[in-house]
């Protein structure tokens, strides 16, 4: 294998930033149910999607993430009642802007997974990592 | 020809510029050890002891890893150094161990921001980077035969401790010595170990004061400048040295003025933001003086010459 194909096929690195109350618990549930998931994502726990500054997602890309997933409680279910509504606006803009900043749109996703949706977590993360892997690692990008 | 007026515009200053070959013989680089020639690189030192002075001040006793350097390390009281935590950065601190102390170099650090928090996280045995000594110390030689009044507040004691220790070690060279030290509360008094000794010595006057009454405090109460006016040292043949928070310095200088101390007999050290420590990076300037090389020690007379931008 040449060095080039090696980088192209190396497993991608995905950061999943999730809220403590819904999606982290959902991911826990997926674990408890032994639902198999991809290896190459890392979960970062925050209290609420409202805590996540879109710039943190950009920071992750800048630091070399190949994909960033944000997941929280479904609108209406926020533990702090409003956090995900604010987050929704911010991440929608980020989602729309990223393709214009040189980050393919499949590399970013924001979604909602509740604590009871273990299966949904499995499919969300599997699909997302799959898409990112299809695009391959990002190398030498400005962001 | 262009009009140069009184403004000298030298043709080519290159003639005064040093070259690497000259530098190797050490011109302009007053530091010993293997880092000679590159004033930016820190010497690695190990923390041998940490003393918790007050809730937010720790003293660090460090030893250079290079034994030769440790043995050769010499500085003037009042000089400062850059103490650095790799990964966090460097910051300026007064060297406050006695110049005669050969086994370690002491810095006292008040927690303020990035670097100082980093320093406070360190343990004994950890590594730090040191660039020292820097700047101009107190003219202790010139002061011989004079009376000395040290006036200090809070962490300001760090800047004067080395000088005090030096003059006490050379007690016979000086006239009367008064130490006036104040802090907000007794808990904020640094160097308790020194204070005990100073207070017990008969050949000096040590006056310790706190700003406001405090449970359990039986000593003096009052702000430093007020206590100073009560003590009313005579200006004749006396040098006043003061260091502390800006507000204290301001009122102390006013008090000294009322006590009719001439500007030439009043010394203080300036705290300015500094980075390179060698008079290049620019930020510690007051007019054309750079605190890192021309200071931090200034007499009041010298300060009066500078633009009012302290």
């Amino acid at each position: 294998m040449t060095a080039q194909t090696e980088t192209r096929t190396r497993p991608v690195k995905v950061i999943a930033i999730v809220c403590n109350w819904c999606s982290y618990a959902g991911a826990d549930g997926a674990g408890t149910a032994r639902l198999k998931q991809p290896y190459n994502f890392r979960v970062l726990r925050v209290p609420c999607t409202g805590r996540i500054d879109p710039l943190l997602a950009l920071k992750a890309f800048q630091k070399g993430a190949d994909g960033v997933l944000i997941s929280g409680c479904h609108p209406g279910d926020c533990h702090y009642s409003e956090g995900n509504y604010y987050a929704r606006r911010k991440f929608e803009l980020l989602d729309r802007m990223l393709p214009h900043l040189g980050v393919e749109s499949q590399r970013f996703k924001y979604t909602w997974v509740s604590a009871s949706e273990a299966a949904r977590w499995q499919s969300v993360i599997t699909e997302f990592v799959g898409h990112v892997q299809e695009l391959g690692p990002r190398e030498g990008r400005a962001l | 020809m262009p009009n140069t007026g009184d403004m000298p515009v030298p043709e080519s200053p290159a003639k005064t510029r040093l070259t690497f070959s000259e530098v190797q013989v050490g011109a302009g680089i007053p530091r010993a050890g293997k880092a000679a020639g590159n004033p930016y690189l820190p010497e690695i030192a190990t923390i041998v002891e940490i003393i918790q002075e007050t809730p937010n001040i720790k003293s660090f006793r460090v030893r250079f890893d290079d034994d030769l350097l440790q043995a050769a390390f010499a500085f003037k009281p009042g000089q400062v150094g850059q103490l650095g935590v790799l990964g966090m950065g460097e910051a300026t601190f007064a060297i406050n161990s006695s110049p005669s102390e050969r086994s370690y170099v002491q810095f006292s650090v008040m927690q303020a921001g990035e670097v100082t928090i980093g320093l406070h996280c360190l343990n004994e045995g950890d590594k730090v980077g040191v660039r020292a000594p820097m700047g101009r110390g107190f003219p202790v030689e010139e002061w011989k035969g004079r009376n000395l009044v040290y006036i200090m507040g809070g962490i300001g004691a760090a800047a004067l401790r080395a000088t005090i220790l030096y003059t006490l070690e050379h007690r016979e060279d000086y006239g009367s010595i008064t130490i006036l030290y104040g802090a907000r509360t007794p808990v904020d008094l640094t160097y308790q170990y020194d204070i005990a000794e100073w207070e017990s010595r008969r050949d000096i006057d040590a006056v310790i004061t706190v700003d406001a009454p405090f449970p359990g405090w039986e000593g003096r109460v009052g702000m430093v400048p007020m206590v100073l006016e009560e003590l009313a040292p005579k200006p004749e043949n006396t040098i006043a040295v003061c260091c502390g928070p800006p507000i204290m310095i301001k009122f102390t200088l006013q008090a000294l003025q009322r006590l009719e101390f001439p500007n030439e007999q009043v010394y203080t050290t300036l705290e300015k933001r500094m980075k390179c420590g060698i008079g290049i990076c620019g930020r510690c300037n007051v007019g054309s003086k750079y605190v890192c090389v021309d200071g931090p020690v200034f007499s009041l007379a010298e300060l009066k010459e500078l633009p009012d931008e302290l």
Partner: protein, 654 residues
């Protein structure tokens, strides 16, 4: 900084897929890690003891346990390290079970991932700071706003538990809606017989102060320390003298509509709503009073044996401190007249609301419990009830179910049968029946079978007068045909709406309300009686339409929440909250805009500027403000921006 890392095998739960020993060894290379160990069960007694021993012997200052989900054991380990003398927040958990071993089966790759997760936890614990819960003094007095059955219940529960309670009631008597009801479903027991003793209990309870004819004007402060301005409306009667003898009422020459009886009777300008009123004190309704309107009369002042009349009285304001506030302002009856022109919009006298009918059925009501037509006082032969008037009706902006109408209609139908005898035809037009409470469905069944009430499924499209009857035209959707009933009396099961002034009150209290004016609970399932403003609670129908059992149940639930809050002398606040670095705050007030709990406040600085300050007891630690502050000068303790960035970095480093 000396970090210890403990990697848990969790039997084979983790060790089956992750090489725990190997990663414990590798973790020893991480910066600041000075001790690592792999343990069979970290959460077990010996496992915890091992951690504590290591803390002491190796001088650990921070601890990472790599095991299961923090949701599972974070509390366990926090306590464990705390017992060993470490601050519990200098501990971090790496979830290598739920998020790793259980979802993978390839050992080398799972091990690699587990190692990354540990690296992230080490990075996070490295930036951790010791956190201490803050303590604030708590004022133990409670304010209950609204003296309906819910408010009374909460007040009594709290007062019985020894707290000082103040009830602020807008009307001149407590009792609320329930005081106007005749009987209550599903037991058909007399409403007054249940409520009146409770009202009296409240009045006589030494721990309860009732401030009737009063309103909350302004609320400042925060949980444990509210400062409330209460406005006492001028009653024109000195209540410290008034003895409620009603002499004035008898003699007063000026008539006024009787609000208590919903316009079914008349009252006087000077007014006591009903004989069992608590407090039983007179109020002059100045808009009807001759003295106030025409400048002559003063009859009441002359007849009052207690010399209580005071025409000069003004609104007064008093300020009180409370530790907690319970809002129990209930609901109002939907003003159907404005919305239903097809039902005559109030112009047909024999079309009345459910509440009016409730008064009519009441033996101490304006008709003495006699059911008759408004137009001619005859006993009705055909009584028609129409459900869902102002409920579940998008066209009038009330999409919600008022939750009590089905039941009270059934109750009223049954009572009609009791009052009017077997000859009367009783019809109920309904869309469907909501009878979810205990014994409710049976109650409806009884109405249909035992009391012979005709339930017609369908909407009534029009009411109009014809030949002295009210023609009810509608659709029987079960039979699929038009029906038309010549009714003598039509009772609209009017829905409920939020209490008048609810939005304003919500704004004063800084709590949220929905588009219909009902107050929002903090979380529909988890925090149903709390609001987003710490220390402010909800009880009864002000949160959503409710019947009495639910209102009372909730009221007691609320009381227990308040008791829980005030059981301590000091409030311990969660230390994982946001703090502002005021030296960097640029006073843009975005944080105050977005915080759902109004935790950030403007704090004046010595130099006259204002900087944001987050009230520790109010902040819930969501971090919305942190993500909004442009200069990032707010940090959420435990989840600082730097710690998140560090974790991202660790996760991405090869």
């Amino acid at each position: 900084m000396r970090i210890g890392v403990f990697v848990c095998h969790c039997g084979s739960n983790i060790a089956g897929t992750v090489d725990c020993h190997a990663i414990a060894e590798r973790a020893a290379e991480l910066k600041d890690v000075v001790y690592t160990e792999d343990v069979m069960y970290t959460c077990s007694e010996p496992g915890q003891a091992g951690i504590q021993r290591a803390i002491k012997e190796k001088g650990l200052t921070r601890v990472v346990v790599a095991s299961c989900s923090p949701q599972m054991h974070e509390v366990t380990f926090r306590r464990c390290v705390e017992d060993a003398g470490l601050n519990p927040h200098l501990f971090e958990m790496a979830n290598i079970r739920e998020h790793c071993s259980w979802i993978h089966d390839d050992m080398p790759r799972a091990t690699e991932k587990a190692y990354d997760i540990i690296k992230m936890a080490v990075a996070k614990v490295r930036t951790a700071e010791p956190l201490f819960p803050n303590e604030v003094d708590v004022n133990k007095d409670v304010l209950v706003i609204g003296g309906g059955v819910a408010g009374i219940q909460t007040a009594l529960d709290l007062a019985d538990a020894g707290l000082q309670v103040t009830i602020v009631e807008r009307e001149s008597t407590i009792g609320g809606t329930m005081a106007r009801l005749d009987k209550t479903f599903p037991t058909i027991d007399c409403s007054a017989c249940i409520l009146t003793p409770r009202m009296v209990d409240a009045a006589h309870h030494q721990n309860i102060a009732i401030m009737a004819y009063s309103e909350v004007d302004r609320v400042q402060g925060y949980v444990g320390n509210f400062v409330v301005d209460i406005k006492r409306r001028a009653a024109m009667v000195d209540w410290t003298r008034c003895i409620g003898c009603e002499l004035c009422v008898q003699k007063c020459p000026a008539h006024a509509p009787d609000r208590f009886n919903v316009g079914l009777a008349e009252s006087k300008a000077i007014y006591i709503p009903f004989p069992q009123a608590v407090p039983k004190r007179a109020v002059i309704q100045t808009e009807y009073c001759r003295w106030f309107q025409q400048g002559k009369c003063r009859v009441c002042s002359r007849v009052c044996p207690a010399d209580a009349i005071d025409y000069e009285q003004k609104d007064t304001y008093i300020q009180r401190n409370f530790g907690a506030i319970v809002v129990a302002t209930g609901m109002d009856v939907f003003p159907w007249e404005e919305y239903y022109p097809q039902y005559g919009g109030g112009s047909i006298p024999d079309v009345i609301s459910g509440l009016q009918y409730e008064r009519m059925l009441n033996a101490s009501g304006p008709t003495g419990g006699h059911v008759h037509r408004i137009s001619n006082h005859e006993e009705p032969k055909n009584v028609v009830f129409i459900q869902c008037v102002g409920s579940r009706d998008e066209s009038v902006g009330r999409p919600y179910c008022s939750s009590v109408c089905c039941m009270y209609t059934a109750k009223q139908a049954i009572l009609t049968r009791n009052h009017c005898g077997p000859e009367t035809n009783i019809f109920v037009f309904y869309i469907d029946i909501r009878a979810t409470g205990k014994g409710y469905e049976e109650f409806i069944k009884r109405a249909q079978t035992e009391f012979n009430v005709n339930y017609v499924r369908g909407r009534v499209s029009k009411l109009y007068e014809e030949h002295g009857k009210v023609m009810v035209r509608g659709m029987d959707t079960l039979l699929g045909q038009q029906v038309e009933i010549p009714a003598d009396l039509v009772v609209l099961a009017t829905g409920t709406t939020s209490a008048e002034g609810a939005p304003q009150l919500a704004q004063a209290l800084n709590i949220s309300y929905d588009e219909f004016g009902f107050f929002k609970e903090s979380h529909p399932k988890l925090r149903p009686v709390e609001t987003n403003t710490a220390g402010v609670f909800l009880a009864g129908a002000c949160q959503a339409p409710k019947d009495i059992p639910t209102s009372v149940a909730q009221a007691s639930g609320t009381a227990s929440k308040v008791l829980g809050l005030l059981s301590k002398d000091k409030l311990k606040t969660s230390p994982q909250i946001a703090v502002v670095d005021q030296s960097r705050c640029v006073s843009c007030w975005k944080c105050t805009d977005v915080c759902p709990f109004s935790a950030p406040e403007k704090q004046s600085q010595r130099d006259g500027s204002q900087k944001s300050h987050i009230i520790e007891t109010v902040c819930q630690g969501c971090g919305i403000c942190v993500a909004t502050c442009p200069v990032n000068c707010i940090s959420l303790k435990g989840f600082t921006t730097d710690s998140i960035i560090d974790q991202i970095e660790e996760a991405l480093l090869a």
